[in-house]
Symmetry: D2
Subunit: 134 residues, 4 copies
Amino acid sequence: MTQPHYFKLRVYYEDTDAGGVVYHANYLKFVERARTELLRKAGANQTDLRLHDELIFVVGHMDCKFVKPAFLDDELLIETLMPKVGKVSFTFEQKVWRDTELLFTTSVKAGSIDAKTFKPKVMPLELLEKLKQY
Amino acid sequence: MTQPHYFKLRVYYEDTDAGGVVYHANYLKFVERARTELLRKAGANQTDLRLHDELIFVVGHMDCKFVKPAFLDDELLIETLMPKVGKVSFTFEQKVWRDTELLFTTSVKAGSIDAKTFKPKVMPLELLEKLKQY
Amino acid sequence: MTQPHYFKLRVYYEDTDAGGVVYHANYLKFVERARTELLRKAGANQTDLRLHDELIFVVGHMDCKFVKPAFLDDELLIETLMPKVGKVSFTFEQKVWRDTELLFTTSVKAGSIDAKTFKPKVMPLELLEKLKQY
Amino acid sequence: MTQPHYFKLRVYYEDTDAGGVVYHANYLKFVERARTELLRKAGANQTDLRLHDELIFVVGHMDCKFVKPAFLDDELLIETLMPKVGKVSFTFEQKVWRDTELLFTTSVKAGSIDAKTFKPKVMPLELLEKLKQY
């Protein structure tokens, strides 16, 4: 994956807190929406994977830097790179921007696990190829 | 059920919004916590029901009145009455208090459905008896 | 307002619960996003109103009917009508659709209040005209 | 601070997702509740600080490891240590346990900022002493 994936979203009241800014945990929701859309675009529908392949993706590790606050009504842009794709794990580098201001960055390590046993489970080969080629 | 059930909770940053008050949808979370604890006390463990009886409780109708705002750090008291218990549905009357101030009231109609088909499903007789006697 | 306002959204993991469906309180977030976009389109920016006019909109009453469950990855359409606009209050009728299936309906009564005192506060006349003409 | 602070909580439907487990971002809410209670116990009321001292605490960096899933109805224990307290920043080490199973760990770097300018702001000396002595 050489080109970053971009995803736009709007900040609503539900995302903010009494400090007048986006509640810190909600950036994790924002970047997960972006990863979901990247995966969808690359050919991975998570509902199908869960129901037909009994496979779910889970986050194993996140390193998060909260750089600047986002506010109600802001339009944010999520930039996502997927530098590593393996058989049971993959890595994302994500940034949240408001125009040219960087608000949040994260490195995410995700894994592919069995929906019932929660043990690592190899992705279908076809999906792996799609993700690598994306 | 002649005596109301009481449940206490604290307001955290996650519950508030940029208006400086509790975000309106979060009262629905608060009252659901209280219903869960009432059901647990009455003998209904929702995890067991879902995994062993393939039965889940769902909300069908809620009438909500937002009377006064709650704030960060407030300690709230949820008062719950369960005036009607039927084979596939039950009713709750719930109030959220901060000391003697009424902040929110709701009437909730909930149903018992099959976890897979999402069709109404009669509660186990033993559970029904427990809920009626509670 | 004679034409309904439409707003589209996608269901992400953050919106679902262990029942495998959208968590009931999250429909309130969905319809609030739609009301926000309707108000924005009609000329009411809530951040400006809060910071410059010290005016916030709050929900006073909601009657909610949960008709059918929504699932992960669903694309939902929110239909909103604003049948009544007064000086300190307005009413919305909202429906959540998945294609032709009705999933959720609500009647919302909202008010315009002072951001500091939380007492009813008349909307700027210009805004009132815009909302009525919308 | 030589003794860890402990905080107990219950997992409700609102905390879970369609994978049948606690949604990953919600661990950040759990550990924030624990930090809030630790700060309250140490003498720092965040509402007072925001309204009277125009000071808010914000998270600057979090390193999060998602070790094992938590489930609906689980009772979790949050263990918090505050190894460093400075004039404008402090550090927390937090762990989420279900009995003897470690589910989540995080290192949190938080800062003390001005509620209006969002620039670093030195904590009141009295508060700093309380936190150091805690």
